[in-house]
């Protein structure tokens, strides 16, 4: 192996190992959403016969394992991305963003071990903001370039990235305002945090919508297919949301808050429409632009309020995975020779022939 072979890597950061671990992480975050954040909390509403109590206890234990799996896989993926970031000469800001993501992960762990001080939370939120900005900078630069005819190939994914990163930024700012108030003493500014969180929720919903539209756009251009099974999943999600809103609207609101951190203040048909577009379109995006789709899906499934340190790390890693795909696609689209080749095959390091 020589340095020369590193130069043959067309994309930075995302290698086969990272792709595989990203798939593991995506599954873990999805399981965390469905099991830990939804089903286990749904069980609270059910009567507890002795059998149900046993089932609930077993589910609680399994949910705790899934909850632990997210940060464990996240740390593994972070290590792989750091190694690959150096090896593939990724942009400095992206590498710095990963390093700060490691610091955010350490800060989350430290909050378990050291005495709670307001400055600790403030430092973690500041690191999170720096990491978000540094990770997304290459994508911002790519999007700022004059757009070619293939702009739609990456444009919606890029805006999805910005919306999801914006939602995480607003949530971190809201927490930072809280923590800063705690440092200074005296009453804080709850109204500011409420506005920040509301704006963040809108950004999150916009991100989920754009995520789906990006995939549907790929399907419309014939680069991907919306699989019938994912249309069925989207339909089930819509029916479940609308059905729950008719049968138990208040319980649905609580579940939305507990699972994705959404306030439930918007009409339920909006949540249903966003879910349908995101699920159906997202599956198509995964067929055409796998890295971007996986990364953005991880960030979206991690939820909006990012109250658990494992989910914070998952969001940062999801964005870190999506950025090279979007920035790389932007570059490719800007070069006439590369037009029409904006697929995942251009964005992932090639696997060396074995043997």
């Amino acid at each position: 192996m020589t340095r020369r072979s590193a130069g043959a890597w067309p994309a930075w950061g995302v290698t086969i190992a990272a792709r595989s671990l990203a798939a593991w992480l995506l599954v873990a975050v999805a399981a965390d959403l469905l099991l830990t954040r939804t089903l286990v909390r749904l069980v609270i509403f059910m009567p507890k016969s002795p059998v149900m109590a046993g089932v609930a206890q077993a589910m609680g234990w399994l949910a705790a394992a899934v909850d632990a799996l997210v940060p464990v896989l996240g740390l593994l993926l972070l290590a792989v991305l750091l190694l690959n970031g150096g090896r593939t000469r990724a942009p400095l800001s992206w590498r710095a963003g990963l390093a700060f993501a490691a610091a955010v992960a350490a800060g989350g762990l430290a909050l378990l071990l050291v005495p709670p001080v307001p400055s600790g939370q403030l430092v973690v939120d500041a690191l999170l903001l720096v990491s978000l900005g540094a990770l997304c900078l290459p994508a911002l630069r790519a999007m700022a370039r004059p757009a070619g005819p293939d702009v739609m190939a990456w444009g919606l994914s890029g805006f999805t990235l910005l919306a999801v990163a914006g939602a995480a930024t607003l949530a971190a700012l809201a927490r930072g305002v809280d923590a800063a108030g705690a440092l200074g003493g005296g009453p804080g500014g709850p109204s500011l945090t409420i506005w920040l969180r509301a704006a963040g929720e809108l950004a999150y919903l916009a991100g989920a919508t754009l995520f789906g539209l990006a995939g549907l756009g790929e399907a419309a251009r014939g680069r991907a297919v919306v699989q019938p099974r994912w249309i069925a999943v989207a339909a089930v999600a819509v029916v479940a949301l609308l059905g729950a809103s008719l049968a138990a609207p208040l319980s649905l609101g609580i579940l939305l808050m507990w699972s994705l951190g959404l306030s439930g203040t918007f009409p339920v048909f909006l949540y249903a429409a966003v879910a349908a577009v995101a699920i159906a379109g997202g599956s198509a995006l995964a067929g055409a632009r796998r890295e971007a789709a996986f990364g953005l899906a991880i960030a979206l499934l991690a939820g909006y309020t990012l109250a658990a340190s494992g989910l914070v790390l998952a969001t940062l890693l999801g964005l870190a995975l999506a950025v090279p795909a979007i920035a790389g696609a932007g570059k490719a689209a800007a070069r006439p020779a590369d037009r029409g080749r904006v697929g995942s095959e251009r964005l992932v390091a090639p696997v060396a022939p074995r043997g």
Binding site: M1, R3, S5, I16, A17, S20, L21, A22, A23, I44, K48, A53, A56, Q57, G60, L62, A65, D67, A68, L69, P71, V72, L76, L82, L83, G85, R87, L98, F100, A102, A106, G107, G108, A110, L111, L112, L113, V114, P115, P116, V117, P118, S119, G120, V124, D125, R175, A182, G185, G188, A248, L250, S251, I254, M257, T305, A308, S309, V312, A349
Partner: protein
């Protein structure tokens, strides 16, 4: 190509699953909550547990905790009657005091008639990783401190039902008030079965706060009278309630929140507006928030383990980036 087909990555993934299972089995948390945190202020003087309007409380930053209706179980309250509560906490190393403040233009301190309900407030502490916010679970119990405005009023002067119905016909208390009756071996309260059974609701008040335990719906249980360690103080002024809950940090009771040994708790709050008919499950409730309790005065340098971990993580990340840049072959896949 399957995304999880790579053998080495699959092995890594399986190791991660095994580690997660072990962490879950051992009950070791791998994630921390980064939501709203109420940090108790460490005070070198005794906490003002008896004075909700002490100027010292104004030195503590209030954390605004939003409340919503309770819609998990019957009886529900679809829309919160109290939309938020300001929370402050203070400790002096011996005692923890938590003050709740909320807007309530009416002062309701009586439950002596069928249609009267008192203002109330509660703090619940999760005692395990699996504690459900909805009255706890088998996997994690709750310790609940429940303040009642009627109990607080009773502390000043215990009121019986005769206070609400002064002209009601009444049975004399047997046997002490029966003329000519022989002395009763059970004493003057021999037929006050609630008191004889040790029911806190019948006993003379010693605190306005009831110390309770719960492990699920329908399991709310008052701790015995000799284990009621939580004190309360309350005042209603300018349309706002201020209620202070306080308890010694050291407490050997395993059903109580271990304030002396744990540094961070998950807590949740509930408020009842008696004027609007709130009672039982009809209450305004919060989500979980974190409560940090310093065991001694904290200075800037107390954050050093935290800063060291962050610096270590940054250094490790920098080293890995450098390693990757120096050795292209390092990694889990790539050209060979």
């Amino acid at each position: 190509m399957s995304f999880v087909a790579d053998r080495r990555t699959r092995a890594l993934g399986l190791i991660a699953v095994a580690v997660a299972l072990l962490l879950a089995l051992a009950g070791v948390p791998a994630t921390s909550a980064q939501g709203t945190t109420i940090n108790a202020l460490y005070s070198s003087d005794a906490v003002p547990a008896d004075d909700p309007f002490s100027p010292r409380w104004d030195l503590v930053r209030a954390v605004a905790v939003p409340l919503s209706g309770q819609v998990t179980t019957q009886p529900m309250l679809p829309v919160a009657n109290v939309t938020g509560v300001d929370v402050r906490a203070m400790t002096d190393g011996d005692r923890l005091a938590i003050m709740l403040e909320w807007q309530d233009t009416t002062r309701n301190e009586s439950v002596l008639t069928a249609d009267a309900f008192a203002d109330q407030a509660a703090v619940q502490f999760g005692l395990g990783e699996g504690a459900s916010i909805c009255m706890g679970a088998q996997a994690g119990a709750l310790n609940i401190w429940h303040w009642k405005a009627d109990w607080a009023a009773d502390l000043a002067s215990m009121r019986e039902i005769e206070a609400a119905h002064p002209n009601m016909p009444r049975d004399e208390h047997w046997p002490a008030q029966s003329p000519g009756a022989s002395p009763d071996p059970l004493g003057p309260h021999g037929f006050l079965s609630g008191q004889m059974a040790g029911n806190l609701r019948s006993l003379p008040r010693t605190s306005s706060v009831e110390d309770l335990t719960a492990v699920g719906f329908g399991s709310l249980t008052a701790q015995p009278a000799d284990r009621q360690e939580v004190q309360g103080a309350s005042a209603h002024r300018d349309g706002r309630w201020r209620v202070v809950f306080s308890r010694k940090l050291a407490d050997p009771d395993p059903t109580d929140a271990p304030l002396a040994t744990a540094r961070t708790f998950v807590v949740a709050f509930a408020v009842w507006d008696g004027a609007r008919g709130d009672r039982n499950g009809q209450k305004s409730v919060s989500n979980w928030v974190a409560l940090g309790i310093p065991q001694r005065p904290l200075g800037l340098l107390d954050g050093w383990p935290f800063l060291v971990m962050i610096v270590l993580a940054l250094s490790l990340a920098g080293w890995m980036l450098w390693l990757g840049a120096r050795q292209p072959a390092v990694g889990l896949s790539g050209p060979k």
